[in-house]
């Protein structure tokens, strides 16, 4: 595709429910990243995929968060038993080869609101 796409664009859920956020990276990009941005805050790294494997999961805040990537394309970020502090914009980015320091191309984000 022309760019990184994410769905849904907005998600409102009740505390305790599970949510799935989807990211479609730019075709051919081997590296995929998930970030979180709380209102008025900077980027918070969550997880990095190189192909289908995740060499760096260090940013996942708790075991309620998990992510997978299949077919070296689509990735899904799952948050189980959502809490109000999970409310944020979740951003996905991709890059051609995952080289450290390379540019990353971002999707429009999913705005998650946990009531």
């Amino acid at each position: 595709g022309a760019g990184v796409s994410q769905s849904p664009s907005n998600k409102v859920t009740e505390k305790g429910k599970d949510v799935e956020l989807r990211c479609d990276p730019i075709s051919g990009h081997t590296a995929l990243y998930w970030y979180r941005q709380r209102l008025g805050q900077g980027l918070e790294f969550l997880i990095y995929f190189q192909g289908n494997s995740a060499p760096d999961k260090s940013g996942l805040p708790s075991d309620r968060f998990s992510a997978e990537r299949t077919g070296e394309s689509v990735s899904t970020l799952t948050i189980q038993r959502t809490q109000q502090e999970d409310s944020a914009v979740y951003l996905c980015a991709s890059s051609p080869n995952g080289l450290a320091g390379g540019e990353q191309f971002f999707g429009p984000g999913t705005r998650l609101t946990v009531l």
Binding site: G42, F45, L99, A100, G101, G102, E103, Q104, G107, G109
Partner: protein
């Protein structure tokens, strides 16, 4: 940390004027990148300048890099209302985790 520090924190100009913002960083770099974020178009990569380059142009954007001073500047010429956004720099080095400072909030008044 590859985080840069942007200056000024806020800048307000009239449409058609030029806007200059600065970035300082602390670590050695392979490149210096500028990103823009606004509510309409999200977070967008603007331009990348490599450590062995001193100046780079892209459309109305001009970036300079001074590795001896660990600083960079971003010039936006003939600004438009659509340039209203927060601008962030990132010093690309040995880490793939993007981290930003507080950014420069640019407001372009019509």
């Amino acid at each position: 940390s590859q985080q840069g520090e942007e200056d000024p924190q806020a800048l307000s100009i009239q449409e058609g004027e030029n806007a200059t913002m600065n970035c300082s960083y602390k670590t050695s770099i392979n490149n210096l990148q500028w990103y823009r974020q606004n509510s309409g178009r999200g977070l967008v990569h603007l331009i990348l300048i490599r450590s062995n380059e001193r100046e780079k142009h892209s459309g109305r954007l001009r970036v300079t890099l001074d590795t001896s001073k660990k600083s960079s500047s971003l010039l936006i010429t003939a600004s438009r209302a659509a340039d209203t956004a927060s601008y962030f720099c990132y010093s690309g080095g040995s880490n793939y985790k993007l981290t930003f400072g507080k950014g420069t909030l640019l407001t372009v008044n019509p």
